[in-house]
């Protein structure tokens, strides 16, 4: 049975010019006097137990409205929503904390608002105190707390008593790094216990490492439901296209198989190859020299061009990226309608043994958001094989020498 199920869910907000218009509409219901705006349309998805799902989308895409519908603080205007379990939402950390009461008293009051029973909160109080690590401050008024301390307490309250569904918003960016790490560890732990996670963030790294699925919302609709790295690539393409809209209304995203390609097509990538001393290769030994060659063609004269590469790991985490502008290579006024090749010569490929993908982009400035000519996700996939002479863990090959000091001071 799905834990969360929505069927053709829609949300419409009514806007009235002033309260009098509303009164007039109530009195004469046959004549609507409001502007109806649909912020969510036809949203259908199911989330099963133990899934971790990211909601991705630009501001105004409808993410927070969707969360509010899930938590029941807004009601749908169309379709239905079914939630089978207790939701704990971190989106409003510190909600309802009263400044004059002690942390302990506030935990009781806020916990009841979260739908917890009094004795449940009481018996979890030691664990909440221990996790929040605010010491004796638990008995001091909340107004004496720093914002970080409030977040600690609220996070502890929301997660110590395990919910069926945990909603985590950007709220977690508050607080110090130590506690953030602790929060993420706790979230991972909950996930392992089978708690369903709904995560809303713009941070691709956090999404890729926490979630196994992502839903992309755009203009109130679900435009993609796939693995997080795919969705994030598509999302980035979407932003890039949007930035280009004013002067280039024709931009396309091809989403065939696993690779995503977008751009307005003023220049296009013809081929991307990896070469070692032995010629074109799909595998490079760690620490070896390699060359990435990008062949491309300009469809029309362009005053400037930047060729960028981005190496990502299997999960889509960004490992290394650079472009011709950063490297000091000018590509202005290249001859159109003829093939060119840019070679990125890598002296020593200091990556660990694993599989990597390369994203290649042709764009105008040093920022791919402006003048995105052609942008090819996973244009190339290659493997790095272990170097028998230098064995290590991880993706970064940091040259290290170990030595023994016989008499440390």
């Amino acid at each position: 049975m799905a834990l969360v199920k929505t069927t053709s869910l829609g949300k419409r907000f009514k806007y009235y010019a002033n309260p009098r218009q509303r009164l007039l509409e109530w009195l004469t219901p046959s004549r609507p006097r409001h502007d109806a705006r649909w912020v969510l349309r036809d949203i259908s998805f199911e989330i099963g137990r133990g899934e971790s799902v990211a909601f991705v989308g630009r501001n105004g895409a409808g993410k927070s409205t969707l969360l509010k519908l899930l938590t029941g603080t807004l009601l749908p205007s169309a379709g239905s929503i079914q939630v089978n379990g207790r939701i704990s939402a971190l989106l409003e950390l510190g909600m309802g904390f009263h400044p004059d009461f002690s942390g302990r008293r506030n935990v009781m009051l806020a916990g009841q608002l979260l739908g917890l029973a009094k004795d449940e909160i009481l018996s979890s109080m030691p664990a909440i105190e221990a996790f929040a690590e605010i010491g004796e401050a638990i008995d001091h008024p909340v107004r004496t707390y720093s914002s970080g301390m409030q977040v600690r307490l609220a996070f502890s309250l929301a997660t110590v008593i395990e919910p069926d569904i945990l909603i985590v918003d950007e709220a977690l960016s508050v607080g110090d790094a130590y506690f953030q790490h602790k929060c993420f560890r706790r979230i991972r732990e909950l996930r392992e216990h089978g708690v369903t996670l709904i995560f809303v963030s713009h941070d691709p790294l956090a999404i890729k490492s926490l979630c196994n699925r992502a839903l992309l919302l755009d203009q109130g609709r679900i435009v993609m439901d796939d693995a997080p790295d795919m969705v994030m690539d598509y999302y980035n393409a979407l932003i890039a296209i949007d930035e280009n809209k004013p002067d280039h209304p024709v931009a396309t995203i091809n989403h065939n198989g696993r690779a995503i390609r977008s751009g307005i097509g003023s220049a296009s990538i013809l081929a991307v190859t990896l070469q070692t001393a032995e010629g074109e290769a799909g595998e490079v030994a760690s620490g070896q020299a390699a060359t990435l060659e990008v062949r491309f063609r300009l469809q029309r004269p362009l005053p400037e061009l930047t060729v960028g590469i981005l190496i990502k790991d299997r999960l889509g985490n960004e490992i290394f990226g650079t472009n011709t502008r950063n490297l000091g290579l000018q590509l202005d006024h290249l001859e159109p309608n003829q093939a060119h090749a840019v070679r990125f010569n890598i002296d020593r490929l200091t990556l660990g043994p694993a599989s990597y993908s390369v994203t290649v982009a042709l764009h105008a400035l040093d920022n791919h958001l402006e003048g995105n000519y052609d942008w090819h996700e996973q244009a190339l996939v290659f493997r790095v094989s272990p170097d028998p002479a230098y064995s290590f863990e991880g993706v970064a090959r940091v040259d290290t020498i170990a030595s023994l000091n016989q008499s440390p001071s």
């Binding site: 907000f13 009164l23 603080t73 009601l75 909600m95 608002l113 917890l116």
Partner: protein, 259 residues
């Protein structure tokens, strides 16, 4: 939230509200009943002493004060719960926006807060009745029955006012004015008997009149008001209840959007 959770929540919030209201004050809980006490003293002074008004057919020197309290304390409850409730949703918008719970519990919290205040001042009134030798079981029974009638009348009214106040902030101001008018249209500081005959007939239409007169007559052991008044009070209470249910159903979604 199930019922026990809701009740726990209401109890804790009421004790929080009471604590907050009087925290940092010297007289503390005395502020719960001081305003009522002062108004009783003032009305007693003005009506009973300066204007030499006596209740028809009762010569006791305390009679007017007792008459006044029997009505005024119940009126004060009505006025207090309505003024608290009208902002119950608007003032708690931040919680309503963030957590899903039965919003009617906010009305219950307002009513419970007013009830605490009512019970404290009633205890003082009962002591006064005892000292002046006017305490009787039947008197107390009618007094609290009258309060229950007012409660039945005010709860749906509070829910409607709180809901409409979300959409039209005029409601809060409107309530202030209406309460002022209603106070003088109800025989609280004056007995209905002093009104001209023509007006006496109309007063029965005021749903507050019957419970107040019922309490006054019970406490002073004078003839009870016409039973028809009870019918009108109950009928209006039922109509208000239906209205409250229908409005809350119809506006459930708009209400949350508007917060």
């Amino acid at each position: 939230m199930n019922l026990t959770h809701t009740l726990d929540f209401i109890r804790d919030t009421v004790s929080k509200d009471t604590e907050l209201k009087y925290r940092g004050s010297i007289l503390g809980i005395a502020w719960l009943f001081l305003p009522s006490l002062v108004s009783i003293l003032l009305y007693s002074l003005v009506f009973s002493k300066l204007m030499h008004s006596r209740l028809p057919g009762n010569s006791s020197s305390f009679a007017y004060s007792i008459y006044l309290c029997a009505g005024l304390l119940i009126w004060n409850f009505f006025s207090d719960v309505l003024q608290r409730s009208v902002g119950a949703y608007t003032d708690n918008a931040n919680i309503l926006k963030k957590a899903k719970f039965n919003k009617l519990s906010l009305i219950a919290i307002a009513a419970a807060n007013s009830t605490v205040q009512f019970l404290i001042i009633s205890a003082l009134f009962i002591v006064f009745l005892g000292i002046s030798g006017n305490l009787s079981f039947s008197g107390l029974a009618t007094y609290f029955m009258a309060w229950l009638m007012i409660l039945a009348l005010s709860l749906p009214l509070c829910a409607i006012a709180a809901l409409l106040n979300i959409f039209f902030r005029d409601v809060g101001h409107l309530i202030q004015i209406t309460l002022l008018g209603l106070f003088w249209c109800t025989p609280i500081v004056y007995p209905a008997a002093i009104l001209p005959e023509g007006m006496q007939r109309w007063i029965i239409l005021n749903p507050l009149a019957y419970p107040i007169q019922f309490s006054q007559s019970g406490v002073l052991d004078s003839p009870a008001p016409q039973l028809a008044g009870l019918g009108i009070t109950l009928a209006i209470a039922v109509l208000l209840l239906m209205g409250a249910v229908l409005l809350h159903r119809a506006l459930a979604s708009d209400f949350l959007d508007e917060l």
